[in-house]
């Protein structure tokens, strides 16, 4: 079924003209942003019982829709699996791919895509049963490791264990549910995926969370962020600067709640960001309050983080690398000026 969908997407690639005009014009014309999200990763993108999408990646779609269309609800969410995601973006099925996708050289340089900015710094880790008394990934010699297919994780496994001179056997599942079920039934000695997901898997999916432990080792860098098609620099700039604006907003203490008061701020940096002084929107082809709209829709970067994956969410992930640069993290936005 999945293959058939992929073939259909590939077929779209034949039909769609190479230069279908500017993405911004198209999005405005249809008054809807087509946003590619994952088929279901709690905290990042998942649909609730009413079919409403929410999560960190989903909020980014909403922020872009708010900046461009002045309505965060005008988003068509296209759930994509790992195999479909790039083809969907290439063929024009989606305007924006916001689907915890790792920025790598191969993807950036050979798929006709542009990674815009990093919205989440992740790393690949391991979950193991406590019973095995393993304290480091280096002890996973000859282990069978359950993993879900279609991510960078399989290659990281290959690379890292090759470098360590350790042999392991991956057991690769297509569906998340099957991979988790197999691990918790004891089929594998370890489970691997991005560390952001491991905490959730341990607390929500394990029959007894205390019987499992997340190893301290991270074996890879996983910078995740939104992706756009190549060949439309204006659209590329818009998505990039929406991300930067949300990070800037956190730095200057602008929140969803205090946005209206902040509009009266005399700080020139805040005035520029919110469009109360200079018109930064004009340069991007947007209205002058583009950033204020995005912040109004989803809050600043920090609020977006806490609500979806941080302390105010079931995932309870620490900010870690994703704290602002001024607070020991890596989140740093070029200045809006």
């Amino acid at each position: 079924m999945k293959t058939i969908q992929l073939v259909a997407l590939l077929f779209l690639l034949h039909l769609a003209p190479a230069h279908a005009g500017k993405t911004l014009d198209q999005v405005r014309q249809r008054a809807q942003l087509a946003c590619g999200v994952s088929t279901g990763v709690i905290g990042f993108s998942s649909a609730d019982s009413q079919g409403r999408w929410n999560g960190f990646d989903v909020d980014l779609c909403r922020a872009v829709a708010a900046a461009v269309l002045n309505d965060a609800a005008k988003v068509k969410y296209v759930p994509l699996n790992a195999q479909q995601r790039f083809t969907a973006l290439q063929s024009g099925e989606v305007d924006l791919l916001s689907r915890n996708t790792t920025w790598t050289l191969t993807r950036d340089a050979s798929l006709g895509l542009h990674f815009t900015a990093v919205t989440y710094y992740d790393g690949q880790g391991f979950l193991v049963p406590k019973k095995l008394k393993i304290t480091s990934a280096k002890q996973l010699k000859n282990a069978e490791i359950c993993v879900q297919s279609g991510t960078t994780t399989e290659k990281n496994l290959g690379d890292w264990f090759k470098a360590q001179g350790i042999r392991i056997k991956p057991v690769v599942f297509e569906k998340f549910e099957a991979s988790i079920k197999a691990f918790f039934s004891g089929r594998c000695q370890a489970y691997t995926t991005d560390a952001s997901a491991l905490a959730f898997i341990r607390s929500k999916e394990a029959p007894q969370p205390d019987d499992y432990v997340v190893l301290p080792d991270l074996i890879s860098k996983e910078p995740l962020g939104p992706v756009v098609r190549r060949g439309d620099d204006e659209w590329f700039a818009i998505v990039k600067w929406v991300v930067f604006a949300l990070i800037e907003a956190e730095e200057y203490g602008i929140t969803q709640a205090n946005l209206e008061q902040m509009k009266a701020s005399t700080d020139p940096a805040v005035q520029r960001l919110l469009g109360t002084a200079e018109d930064s929107g004009k340069l991007l082809g947007l209205e002058r309050d583009w950033a204020a709209r995005a912040i109004k829709a989803v809050g600043n970067y920090g609020e977006m983080f806490q609500r979806n994956v941080g302390s105010a969410s079931p995932l309870k992930l620490p900010r870690g690398l994703n704290a602002l640069w001024s607070k020991g993290g890596l989140m740093y936005a070029p200045p809006v000026r």
Partner: protein
């Protein structure tokens, strides 16, 4: 007559040319579109190192081997499960098909129940059920059952001594720190896939066999019995040779479906061709190329199977004439 034949030939040639032309056009437009969008294409990625490991492989495979070799290992894994499953399902299916024609009411009922149950439950569900039954029942690898010296049974599978290994002669499975080490392993993934495919396809083959035998006119068996042939003789000399002719073509279809159904392996973690190709696709982003490769391989497998069965059909035809 001559003219009509020539016209037909010309029409067919025209159709074939149009089809090839359309195919060429599709490929050409895709390639041009992809180039224009800065999407790298081509099959050069096949020579690059795959970079990922494969859990179990009939062919020796390391993550530094090429992507092409990874796909070959995947294909070998597909055949490794499909060929034994074809044999097993044909044997079991034939027995059950005959069972459905048995004069014994209980046997007939049981065989009918088997067919109706197995073919009315989706194969994917059956595979998942088998897989989780197998993995749930077996003990953890750290608490593996020792069935005989150097034979271990656990959730990691059945480990048995095998040729090769470090000693160069015999590779003996041993209890490692966290898992069984060495030897050859029959994994739960393989076992579940083999069982699921064999049992599911056997239900269809049983119907094919039953229908084939019932298609032989009743008068044939009456005549044979009147001539004093035993039931075994009746079956071997009269029914089977005639039934085979109608059984083989649908049987081939079943074998083809089984091979294609083996691609459901990815659901239960068995590294078949589709699973390996999916991983390759995802690492390299060459979607069009990987999908084309998968389709080409299955097409070749199907054509080979069809060709083999056509050959069998001719042979059985000759056999029927001799008999």
């Amino acid at each position: 007559m001559q003219g009509r034949r020539r016209r037909e030939l010309a029409l067919q040639a025209l159709l074939a040319a149009a089809l090839l032309g359309a195919l060429w056009w599709l490929l050409d437009v895709t390639a041009a579109n992809m180039a224009e969008r800065g999407i790298r294409s081509g099959f050069d990625f096949l020579r690059e190192p795959a970079g990922f490991a494969i859990g179990e492989s009939l062919l020796p495979f390391e993550s530094t081997d090429s992507a092409l070799w990874a796909l070959a290992a995947g294909l070998a894994n597909t055949l490794r499960v499909a060929l034994p499953a074809i044999l097993a399902s044909t044997l079991l299916g034939t027995l059950i098909g005959l069972g459905r024609l048995s004069p014994n009411l209980l046997l007939r009922g049981l065989c009918a129940a088997y067919v109706e149950t197995l073919r009315n439950v989706p194969l994917l569900l059956q595979l998942l059920a088998w897989y989780f039954v197998v993995t749930d029942l077996l003990p953890l690898a750290s608490e593996a059952l020792q069935l005989a010296p150097h034979v271990f049974l656990s959730k990691s599978g059945l480990a048995i001594p095998w040729l090769g290994g470090d000693s160069g002669v015999l590779d003996l499975p041993l209890r490692g720190e966290i898992n069984i080490v060495g030897g050859a392993t029959l994994t739960p993934e393989f076992l579940a896939l083999f069982l699921g495919l064999s049992l599911y396809t056997a239900a269809y083959i049983a119907e094919t066999v039953r229908a084939g035998i019932q298609a032989v006119p009743r008068g044939q068996s009456d005549a044979a019995l009147a001539l004093g042939l035993t039931r075994v003789q009746l079956f071997r000399l009269v029914l089977l040779p005639q039934a085979l002719r109608s059984i083989i073509p649908p049987l081939t279809n079943q074998h083809l479906s089984l091979t294609k159904n083996a691609s459901l392996a990815v659901a239960i973690g068995y590294p078949d061709l589709v699973s390996v190709a999916n991983t390759t696709l995802n690492q390299t982003g060459r979607a069009a190329e990987c999908i084309a490769l998968i389709m080409a391989v299955y097409l070749i497998l199907s054509l080979l199977t069809a060709w083999l069965s056509a050959w069998l059909e001719r042979r059985s035809g000759r056999w029927a004439e001799r008999a």
